[in-house]
Symmetry: C2
Subunit: 363 residues, 2 copies
């Protein structure tokens, strides 16, 4: 039961066995500082979403840079970060079912700043059954401002659900929240403004107004009613973020190191990175990642352990069997969920190896 070897600080990344995801320390710091500076300059509190890294040490870097609290998606993730000393934890998920509600109550009893969301009376009823005035739970109303996932559909429904939360002794209404479609700041602002007006008319204070997302992050200041912004992907960045204009390809801190294991034909290379290393997330691309050293090569298909690469458009030198390449993934967050450890490097030398402590925690 030896598993995968753990790289050691001081090792050159060129010596590491593949496939292996790795993070450039310098780009990581640049990404963290750039976004925090933007938020600071606009007086917006910034709440990083830990889904991208799932590593407490990275969340600590984000907090040290000025982030206020963190965003988790699941209770079991929040437990990991509470264990690491974080107190201001927002779980952006409708939590249902007695087993999960018990775990949530236990978590709420040991940290001071736990918050969750709700978008239905059913969810509020469930939460109210598990919490009391002795140790109440803070709840935000999730609003669908056009993202098309969870959330109440109108400002009127948001106000009504806030009233339902206020009416329950075990719950505290803590604010409103959205995970918007990219580049829809006007729609978000209009939804928030109408909701805030309705809450004010009923004398219901709304301490938190939470907006989110990485793709249009640098337009976050246009939502003037927001008190905070949440984002995850910015910390590593990826090919999809570069396409959206959020960053350049050079800002992508995560590369997946892979080896060419076969060259069956002149135009075909096979990598040892398949869907178990890259996932099959396309995010609108028609191929499965960008090979840094061979940008004209196309990863046309993945099976679990193999990536099939079309080299027909590669002019000049083509990769040889045994050669290592670096892949910029389409979607960085999902890669973190596939591996148990993340390797960090500076100038190609391993600096540290962190457990991806919240990997696989789906509830």
């Amino acid at each position: 039961m030896m598993g995968l070897p753990r790289p050691k600080p001081g090792q050159p990344i060129s010596e590491l066995s593949t496939p292996l995801p790795m993070i450039d320390e310098r780009k990581l710091v640049t990404n963290i500082e750039r976004v925090q500076a933007y938020m600071d300059s606009h007086g917006l509190a910034f709440r990083p979403h830990i889904k991208t890294h799932k590593i407490p040490a990275i969340a600590s870097q984000q907090a040290k840079a000025g982030a206020k609290g963190i965003n988790c998606q699941k209770i079991t993730e929040a437990e990991i970060f509470a264990d690491a000393g974080f107190e201001d934890l927002l779980i952006t998920f409708n939590i249902l079912g007695s087993e999960k509600l018990e775990r949530l109550a236990a978590l709420n009893a040991r940290i001071s700043g736990l918050k969750v969301v709700a978008d239905s009376e059913m969810t509020v009823r469930g939460l109210s059954s598990a919490f009391s005035e002795i140790r109440p739970l803070s709840v935000l109303v999730e609003c669908d401002t056009g993202g098309g996932r969870c959330g109440v559909q109108s400002p009127e429904s948001a106000v009504a659900l806030a009233e339902a939360i206020v009416a329950v002794p075990g719950l505290i209404f803590a604010g409103i929240l959205t995970y918007p479609k990219a580049d829809t700041e006007e729609a978000v602002e209009a939804f928030f403004a109408a909701t805030l007006a309705g809450l004010a008319a009923r004398g219901i204070p709304c301490p938190i107004v939470s907006n989110g997302g990485t793709p249009s992050l640098f337009s976050a200041h246009k939502v003037t009613s927001a008190t905070e912004h949440r984002a995850g992907t910015y910390v590593y960045n990826d090919r999809a973020m570069a396409r959206s204009g959020h960053c350049s390809l050079d800002d992508c801190a995560m590369h997946i190191l892979a080896t060419v294991v076969s060259r069956p034909t002149e135009d075909r290379a096979i990598l040892d990175a398949g869907s178990k290393a890259l996932t099959s997330d396309l995010l609108g691309f028609s191929d499965y990642g960008l090979i840094f050293e061979y940008p004209d090569a196309v990863i046309t298909g993945l099976s679990e352990e193999h990536g099939t690469v079309d080299l027909s458009k590669v002019t000049g030198r083509r990769p040889e069997i045994g050669e290592k390449v670096r892949i910029i993934p389409n979607h960085t967050c999902v890669v973190s969920n596939l591996f148990d450890v993340m390797t960090f490097h500076r100038d190609g030398i391993v600096t540290r190896v962190e457990d991806i402590a919240a990997r696989g925690l789906v509830w």
Copy 2:
């Protein structure tokens, strides 16, 4: 650091927290027995691929039914199964690099039936550097009979590579192998026949002729030169296998139990199963799995923790918040790689919970 709770034998699956993959014991046994009976009736040795389950206890069920040896994709997977007592292990991957070759030599030293593949002189040279006559390694030549992944491109190249293997003291030529495109038995047979003739002409014995794949598994007998067949997915089956005609939807032993966590609109439901539970593998489908209880519902999109469901074509009753549903995944093998444990049940009662011991082992 509590992580996800482990279901207990005797629990009704309806009580389990979601998302959760689970296996129907009865369907598992039926799938194992049906394929083994087919192979037995055609005198083909059967070598299950462990990638689908990654669990030694399931490989033991396959062996008990009559399977001869197992197929792994990676060294670290093979180590797990060697620890569990398996000796006849075939690793169908080009193994390159000193760190991996050392691990491979250590594994070869402790089990009697280790075999790997090669499809290039470069791979053969690497293998030969790590093995000697004292404890030689068995190597099969991988042939690309139309699958378009790894493999030598012609029978002539296959024979030439076999000669290169024979010429090295530390390696034993053990046979030829292909991972074919589905429904191309004639092409496989022609490639194998020409290769076997070339080997015979040079006096090179070819003990193993290994064909593979689940989709056209029940046509395996048409490749009369094959001595064995390899397949993985058949053990659980999935939506893609049902589409191919290999099985019916009722033969799919894996369901992912999920909960409706939001009903934002009349036509939209949100499940707590996203790409971290189902993966984004489409395998030619345009949606992300089939909801057993609501076959007219369409899982139109996945984010990491949410599945978005279009209910517009569901006539009659629609799912409510808190309701649990079962999803037949597009691709079962990739689901096994996302979770640390697999839950088994019979008639809806948990029978056992197995560690997915070879999860995440990418090299």
